[in-house]
């Protein structure tokens, strides 16, 4: 049975190898850190990361589970995941409702899956399998998608909700993805929130996007827009989450820029009375 973590909400960042030393120096401003699950599959000792993890809690975020593939989960990936989860201290772990490979063909990015009953059942069976690897919560994240897969029979919000309910798992709500999808596909993000099981949301992602090819694009390479901060403000009001991660993967010159965004998130949470102190 899915159980929500009891932690007070905190704000953290995703791990940046290039800024590992800076992260350690600014550790008192960061409540927890998110590291790509697959980074730990390479058994390399990263001394600075180890020091960071001595100071703040860790959450794991996977990219390559590919839970939306038509076939079963890859055994090698599951083996790696199982041994990682058994050997590391972490709060929760997550991946995306998407696929990165199909029938052994690697797509190279998070591709949307068809919103259908058939996929709800396939994905939730796999999510249960993954969740059973540990007693810590497993979360699934909403992705950005620019086109629907033909033959869809469900709306995005009911697709996501059905998966979360039937897999009995937690959610990672990416506020930037929600904002981008709402703009690109023309829906109201607040209505979307009212239709998903917000009690299951454990973690929030906040990131920057940009306008390219005539649409909003999830880049993880820009600062967070005012619109996304506004939506986050609404989320603070409506969603009982446990942690926020400011996501940035590239185009970052100074860690301070990310720390500034951590502090903006904390301020918005304080204004909403939900930021206590360190988690």
């Amino acid at each position: 049975m899915y159980k929500k973590p009891g932690r007070n909400p905190g704000v953290g960042i995703n791990f940046h190898h290039h800024f590992a030393g800076d992260i350690l120096r600014n550790i008192d401003q960061i409540d927890f850190i998110e590291v790509f699950t697959e980074k730990f599959f390479i058994k390399e000792n990263d001394e600075t990361l180890s020091k960071i993890l001595e100071n703040i809690p860790l959450v794991l975020h996977g990219l390559d589970l590919s839970i939306g593939s038509t076939g079963p989960l890859k055994i090698e990936y599951l083996d790696n995941l199982r041994s990682l989860l058994a050997g590391i201290n972490f709060e929760w772990f997550s991946d995306h409702i998407s696929l990165t490979h199909e029938n052994n063909f690697e797509v190279g990015h998070l591709m949307p899956v068809q919103f259908s009953e058939e996929n709800v059942s396939k994905i939730s069976i796999k999510a249960k399998e993954v969740a059973s690897l540990t007693d810590r919560p497993f979360l699934l994240e909403n992705i950005t998608y620019y086109y629907p897969i033909p033959g869809q029979s469900m709306a995005e919000e009911s697709f996501i909700s059905s998966i979360l309910e039937s897999a009995d798992c937690g959610m990672l709500l990416d506020v930037n993805n929600l904002y981008i999808n709402s703009k690109n596909h023309g829906y109201d993000p607040i209505k979307f929130l009212s239709k998903i099981p917000v009690d299951r949301v454990v973690e929030i992602h906040i990131a920057g996007g940009s306008f390219k090819h005539g649409m909003l694009v999830d880049t993880h390479a820009n600062s967070v827009s005012t619109e996304v901060w506004d939506l986050f403000d609404e989320v603070c009001n409506r969603v009982p989450f446990n942690g926020v991660i400011i996501e940035r993967d590239s185009n970052l010159d100074r860690l301070e820029d990310l720390i500034d965004e951590v502090n903006i998130a904390k301020k918005i949470m304080k204004n909403n009375g939900i930021y206590k102190s360190n988690i």
Binding site: E102, V107, V113
Partner: protein
Amino acid sequence: MSNLSGGSHESTQLLLAKLVTNPRLVREAIDSTDGFLAGFSMEEKQKQELIEFFKNHGVRFLASSQLLMKKRLDDIVDAMQVGRKIFSYELLREYFENYLEKTGLDEYVSKNPVVESILFCKYIISRENVDEREKIILDYDLTRNSVLQELMNDGRSYHSVIRDAETVSCAPYQMKVVIHPSVKIKEFPAGTSLLIKAIRNNASDDGVIFSSGKEILIFHKNWKKGGVATLKISPDTEKFIKILAYADSLGHAYDLLNEETGTELDVLRSVVTRFVESGLCVFQSVGRSYV
């Protein structure tokens, strides 16, 4: 006519997954949908859905494909540590488009940037018009990245390794030398290491003169800092490293080396200490412990 596999039945999800990795074919699918789909055997319903899809969402599907291609290229360029400093991004983009053109959609290539950078470097060396200097650099990048790829695939843990050089002198027979099996030793034209150093430091490499001779480079897991390190070594050092990797223990390696080269133990110790300090090797205890 597309170079997608004709005749076989593919699910819409798989067809789009393949297609999105190649913007040129996406364009073809949008511009002449009927002709494009004629290459596949599919039920009428699936065909109609795809026709609708390309009509209504083709532009965004193409944009998605272009974004993916750019990200894929950016990650590959990022993995080409030296090559990215001598080729302009525009030129690499042109090469990448040619590379995609030659890579059929049914070739199940890895999209891991390190793995794909190796394929891409090999492609440029063999199919594009590059000079000797450029070939050396691409060869250097692909050799380095093939070591990195093996490191990434290495799921073993090395819990009990000893990284400290002090240990070298004590109990050599209870000490196994560990050089990571991904290590590669390769001959390059003499002058290569100077050329790479100059490019890495953003300095001019005009002064680097290539002679007809060779130099030996070793690419190895850096046990100290992580990642891959490169070192220029002499033929004697190459022999030394091979014996170290082969021997059952450090003491055994000393015996073999002393027998073969007559080198004194003190000299061997100082060389091994240097290897440990540079991150080429570590030690593991061997034999039984009675403590």
